[in-house]
């Protein structure tokens, strides 16, 4: 088992290779400060992020996706992160949970440092033991991308074009 700081370093490498960014935050307030600094618009937040932050705009109940489509900054929370690949695991059973990670331009994902596991195998082990979590679970590795036109790598297609992982702790 590698140490926490090794895991964070490895995670940072993987994330960077996938064109994601990393900030270390000491508290949820820190995460919020970071999010508001990015744009004049109020950040939209997922229900899970709202529980921690107690502020920000939540997606609409009845039509969550339409209500936040293409907003500048969104904040959500990852259940765990994978050092090996630089991925975060988002458990998002409902479209309302998913809205932020699907449609905001700059996605901020908060995760606790101690929830960074070593490799994908550990990530899947966890998922296998949580049947309810697998209702809709996504390992996200960086912002959305395509290379479909002449293999030219373009970041930001139909999902976020920037992604920052805020590591807490």
């Amino acid at each position: 088992m590698i140490t926490l700081s090794d895991r964070i370093a490895l995670f940072a490498d993987g994330l960077q290779a996938a064109q994601g960014e990393l900030v270390q935050c000491s508290s949820w307030d820190d995460v919020w400060e970071h999010a508001v600094a990015l744009s004049d618009e109020t950040p939209v937040v997922s229900p899970a992020a709202y529980e921690q932050l107690q502020r920000g705009e939540l997606p609409d109940d009845t039509d969550p996706l339409r209500s936040i489509a293409d907003r500048s900054v969104g904040v959500t929370v990852a259940t765990l992160a994978v050092a090996e690949t630089g991925s975060v695991l988002l458990i998002e059973p409902t479209p309302r949970d998913r809205a932020i990670s699907l449609l905001t331009r700059h996605l901020i994902v908060a995760v606790s440092a101690e929830d960074i596991v070593e490799d994908l195998a550990e990530g899947f082990l966890w998922l296998g033991q949580q049947p309810r979590a697998a209702a809709y679970a996504t390992f996200v590795t960086g912002p959305s991308r395509t290379a479909d036109i002449e293999r030219s790598l373009t970041i930001g297609v139909q999902g976020p074009s920037r992604m920052t992982v805020a590591v807490l702790g």
């Binding site: 993987g14 290779a17 996938a18 996706l65 339409r66 489509a69 090996e84 690949t85 630089g86 991925s87 059973p93 409902t94 479209p95 998913r98 990670s101 699907l102 449609l103 994908l120 195998a121 990530g123 899947f124 082990l125 998922l127 296998g128 049947p131 697998a134 209702a135 809709y136 679970a137 996504t138 390992f139 996200v140 590795t141 960086g142 912002p143 959305s144 991308r145 395509t146 290379a147 479909d148 036109i149 002449e150 293999r151 030219s152 373009t154 930001g156 297609v157 139909q158 999902g159 976020p160």
Partner: protein
């Protein structure tokens, strides 16, 4: 009819008429290779396991799942249904289309948004739904571009890799009613976001494929990069999943193993951007999982083909395939492209659709080396070719040529005539640098026709005195049988004689068995197994009845005897045993000179100032044969250092009958090889298979390149001390 749905011959011609396709795919193959190799190396370091071990482990998972497929399907179904999904098993493409159409009709759905799914391509879903008044919109950028252009994918993972950005600008402009600058790719990509958004919002159903179906929880796993799949499963109320039954895996632990191999092999990513796992219907929504057979169970029951069901659709087999680089996926495949497309098309779309493309494979073996589930694709393609031949799909000239070849006496006479003709041509000045100056048609002009030497290799050996023994190899004192190989014997007699000299130098005597001819490889390669069997039997009869070791200058014949003979005599125990008794004794010369007939280090050093480089016969290299790295053998014996050729193991384009049936493919691959040789700046190119020597020499002659091309036996034997 669009470029990709026309008959094979039309597709072939069209792909050749696009001057950008070859260079673009070459660039793609090379950059993929580099990043994929780096990814695999990192994976090997991290797991402390070799790629071979990792892929065999996962292949074993797939195999055991496929063996008990019905149990796993039952487990998957029970779990998925418990989570609120509907699971249907369907046998044919039509059933699948009808099912989806019926669900749409009963829910009043007339618009379906799709994320990438090869199974939906397989069943031509878009077209079929259209006929039934339902619109399907592709939301993966590449697939959307194909839909706008009315084309099929030309690659499993990069479906629109054949499209130029100018063309993309044009079709996007037409669809969205605005102008695009072809050089502004980000703007074109961004337009997909806006162009597709309204469809997500109004669609009644979303359709996805599945990279894996996890039995233990009844979940699907889908790997994507753009984010469209998550949109397509979040906005509409109905989620269709189309997946082949071979996508079943037992557990999440197996899913993780698949992910170690899939993104690295597909796009050379550690992990794709989105790995999405969905279990059951979401609250208030419907999920219909369609498990499609469409020929898969028949594949499983078919000799040598069943392994193809392990495929995880990574596309790697196309990324190393030399003919694919020349013609692209619209020609090298049908709906499934690349090596796997040459195999599974027969079962999903019929042997007629597979017959054209399968003939383009040069049997180089590269695809299997990178396949993350170790599918024996080259052998399977030969099986498909055999079926195409049986089905009467082989060209007439090929069948006649093979019949002639199969008759040793006739072959012998024809070759004698050719040699006499060449002699005459020499006299009247029609031969230049050992090649005939013939007015060849344009399709064939890239390769000169070698003038046939008057004396065959066997004649050369028999007409000289044996070399005195120079060194004591472990086989010193033995007599060795030499199998000259039909092609080399006639067209490269000095290589055959050189081989004999090198064997003699190591202290063995050389015997050339009478009446030897051809091992049957050309016929086997062409799918004509009956003729191949006749030729093989003739060779077995010529070589059996002795305990002597047999050496040949042709590694292709070694492979033919070791790999193909057992298949030819699968149902004939008597001949199987007789064949085995011969093939057990066969050695490739290079392996011999390092093994039983080992010559000492530096024994052939001569202080030559000429620089040389080596092309390693692709098939032997990709099969990991001991003798394949001839440059190392030659370095050891001469004490000289070779210049490493770029891509030393990529096919040279000889490819047996392929270079006759599809000369443009042979030409294109040869060009790639000769460019690497020119890049090396060497005076001499050596290689190990006679076919490659002849092909590379004829190509260099036609293109006026001035390096010399030699069989390495010639190169080495020229350094033997002269007979006292």
């Amino acid at each position: 009819m669009s470029a990709s749905t026309a008959p094979f011959k039309t597709r072939y011609r069209r792909s050749l008429s696009d001057p950008d396709l070859k260079p673009r795919l070459l660039d793609f193959q090379r950059s993929w290779r580099e990043s994929r190799d780096a990814q695999v190396q990192r994976l090997e370091q991290r797991t402390e396991q070799s790629f071979d071990e990792l892929r065999r482990d996962f292949a074993a998972v797939k195999d055991s799942t496929l063996e008990r497929l019905d149990d796993y399907i039952a487990e998957f179904r029970a779990n998925a249904e418990a989570a609120g999904a509907t699971v249907v098993e369907l046998s044919t493409a039509a059933e699948a289309v009808n099912y989806i159409a019926a669900v749409c009709k009963s829910r009043g759905i007339d618009l379906v948004v799709k994320s990438k799914s090869m199974v939906s391509e397989e069943i031509e879903l878009n077209h079929e739904l259209e006929q039934r008044g339902i619109t399907a919109i592709e939301t993966d950028l590449g697939e959307w571009l194909l839909q706008l252009a009315e084309e099929r994918p030309s690659h499993l993972v990069m479906p629109a890799i054949h499209q130029k950005r100018q063309y993309v600008a044009e079709i996007l402009g037409e669809e969205l009613g605005r102008e695009f600058d072809p050089d502004d790719i980000p703007a074109m990509v961004a337009s997909a976001r806006d162009g597709l958004r309204r469809h997500y919002l109004s669609a009644g159903a979303g359709l996805t494929g599945a990279n894996a179906l996890v039995a233990e929880t009844g979940s699907i796993m889908v790997v994507t990069n753009e984010g469209n799949m998550r949109l397509a499963t979040s906005l509409p109320d109905v989620h269709f999943v189309t997946a082949g039954i071979e996508k079943l895996i037992p557990s999440w632990a197996d899913a993780e193993r698949q992910l170690q191999l899939l993104p690295r092999s597909a796009t050379a990513q550690t992990l794709s951007t989105y790995t999405t796992c969905i279990t059951g219907a979401q609250p208030g929504k419907e999920m219909h999982i369609i498990l499609l057979d469409n020929g898969r169970r028949a594949m499983r029951e078919t000799n040598t083909i069943g392994d193809a069901l392990r495929c995880i659709r990574c596309g790697a087999c196309a990324n190393v395939c030399p003919p694919y680089q020349i013609v692209g996926g619209h020609t090298f495949g049908h709906i499934y492209t690349g090596a796997i497309g040459l195999v599974n098309t027969t079962f999903h779309h019929g042997v007629e659709e597979a017959a054209g493309p399968q003939g383009l494979c040069v049997s180089c073996g590269a695809c299997q080396t990178v396949c993350p589930v170790d599918i024996p694709l080259p052998q399977q393609i030969l099986e498909v070719r055999h079926r195409a031949h049986e089905g009467g799909h082989a060209p007439l000239w090929e069948r006649i040529a093979l019949r002639l070849w199969a008759r040793p006496r006739l072959f012998h006479h024809l070759m004698g005539l050719a040699a006499a003709g060449s002699g005459l041509a020499r006299l009247i000045g029609l031969v230049q640098r050992d090649h005939l100056r013939l007015p060849l048609p344009r399709r064939l002009g890239w390769r000169s026709v070698p003038a046939m030497p008057l004396r065959s290799g066997q004649t050369l050996i028999r007409s000289r005195r044996p070399l005195s023994h120079l060194w004591e190899s472990s086989s010193a004192g033995q007599t060795v049988d030499l199998f000259a190989q039909c092609l080399a014997d006639r067209l490269l007699p000095t290589a055959v004689d050189s081989a004999a000299r090198l064997i003699e130098a190591g202290g063995s005597s050389v015997n050339v068995p009478q009446s030897q001819h051809c091992c049957g490889l050309p016929a086997f390669d062409a799918g004509d197994w009956e003729t191949a069997r006749r030729m093989a039997k003739h060779t077995i009869e010529a070589l059996e009845g002795s305990e002597r070791q047999i050496v040949t200058t042709a590694p292709s014949c070694v492979i033919s005897m070791q790999d193909h003979w057992p298949r030819l005599f699968d149902h004939d125990p008597e001949w199987r045993d007789r064949a085995a008794a011969v093939s057990e004794r066969i050695h490739d010369l290079a392996e011999w000179l390092d093994g039983p007939g080992r010559l000492p280090d530096g024994c052939l050093s001569k202080g030559s100032s000429k620089s040389w480089t080596a092309h390693r016969f692709c098939q032997a290299s990709n099969r990991n044969d001991a003798g394949a790295r001839i440059d190392q053998l030659v370095e050891r014996l001469t004490g000289e250092t070779a210049k490493l050729l770029e891509e030393p193991e990529v096919c040279c384009g000889f490819g047996g009958l392929t270079s006759l049936a599809a000369p443009e493919v042979g030409e294109g691959i040869l060009e790639r090889k000769l460019a690497c040789v020119a890049e090396s700046g060497c005076d001499t190119l050596i290689t190990n298979n006679p076919g490659c020597v002849i092909h590379l020499r004829a190509g260099a002659n036609a293109s006026g390149t001035h390096h010399e091309t030699l069989h390495y036996a010639e190169f080495l034997a020229a350094r033997l001390p002269k007979n006292p």
